[in-house]
Symmetry: C2
Subunit: 216 residues, 2 copies
């Protein structure tokens, strides 16, 4: 049904949800929010928040705003697979381990069910609550468990090969931390996270913005 929704909208919805869940935590005092409040929490404008909610067909009332719990549920129905979705991670180096810890128990609808590495010493060890397997078992595992989401944290030199194997075994969504442009079929979604690029951008704009400092 949700035909042609942009990457950016999906990203923001994910963020709205996380912030709303945090809101609901302590005494759950506020059961309603206004678009400008969501905007402030997430660093966006109120108009953009309303647009985003429009695209998932969620309506509020001018008087009370949006129901927090209903909105969380609506975003969940939109974003999550009803029966949940399994993900795997490939490359259990420093970064891989850190991410396993990071993702563990984050979204119960989207667990990382296995990790793979060429280092056979890791085989069957459990890291951050996630069991590791040797890479040669990856194909079978993906097929048997119908995994569709993969995280790549191997060195750049191995990333294309890993991507090829993931795609061959049914993965259609990838988060890639290796600094290479992976070549995959058009139907496979890739989100590239380039840490070096991010640092270099921050450094560049740190210099740019420093000049404007006094003006503000």
């Amino acid at each position: 049904m949700p035909n042609k929704v942009s990457d950016k909208v999906i990203g923001r919805l994910s963020l709205y949800r996380r912030m709303l869940e945090r809101m609901g935590k302590p005494g759950n005092t506020a059961s309603n929010v206004f678009s400008h409040e969501i905007a402030a929490m997430t660093g966006n404008t109120a108009a953009l928040v309303r647009r985003d909610l429009m695209t998932i067909g969620f309506a509020g009332s001018p008087k009370k705003g949006y129901s927090v719990s209903e909105l969380i549920q609506c975003i969940g129905e939109y974003l999550d697979a009803p029966e949940g979705q399994k993900a795997v991670l490939v490359g259990v180096g420093n970064l891989g381990r850190a991410l396993l810890g990071h993702f563990a128990l984050r979204n119960p609808k989207l667990p990382i069910v296995a990790a793979f590495d060429t280092n056979t010493d890791l085989a069957n060890r459990v890291i951050q609550g996630c069991r590791c397997y040797p890479v040669h078992e990856m194909g079978d595992f993906l097929q048997e468990n119908e995994v569709r989401v993969g995280v790549i944290t191997v060195p750049a030199s191995a990333a294309q090969e890993v991507a090829d194997r993931l795609v061959k075994n049914g993965i259609t969504g990838i988060v890639n931390f290796a600094p290479v442009a992976l070549r995959v079929p058009k139907y496979v979604y890739i989100d590239n996270i380039d840490l070096t690029m991010s640092l270099e951008k921050a450094a560049f704009f740190a210099r740019q913005h420093e000049k404007d400092k006094e003006l503000v």
Copy 2:
């Protein structure tokens, strides 16, 4: 000079450079590239590459394309601070450690010169080649070393406080891994990297794209 260049252009330039450096590595056989080759390496279109190079005023020749070494140098002059730039990292947990390893020796013009953590057990330990200090020494360190770039890898609950202290002590560019919208003055650049969002996006589009699979 470079007034009003977008975040995206800067990001791509950083990526072009990295790919070009990789090219130049082995026998340095190819000393020239065409825009469509850069495009293929980085997952962009040739037209976009040419536009980006236009914005930094780099010209090639129709016959030979662009000189690899000259282009690397030109991008460097554009992106890097001539005398280099120091960065720090705050929050030496799993993710922080992994990033220290990742950034170590990446770009010699942009070293991570120190890490900070509330855990005093880490004080003066050297992790991934980077010395750790207790957070209470952060302000002085930043001032004395004229640091302008910071990486935040603390838990969400501590991120705003850390950001405030960074900004107060002169930081104008931040890479933020905590899932919160940091409130900072307008002149401070922030790149938010939200790992959970990335995973959820990949999961969403994995499902979307699966439907189109046969069509491709």
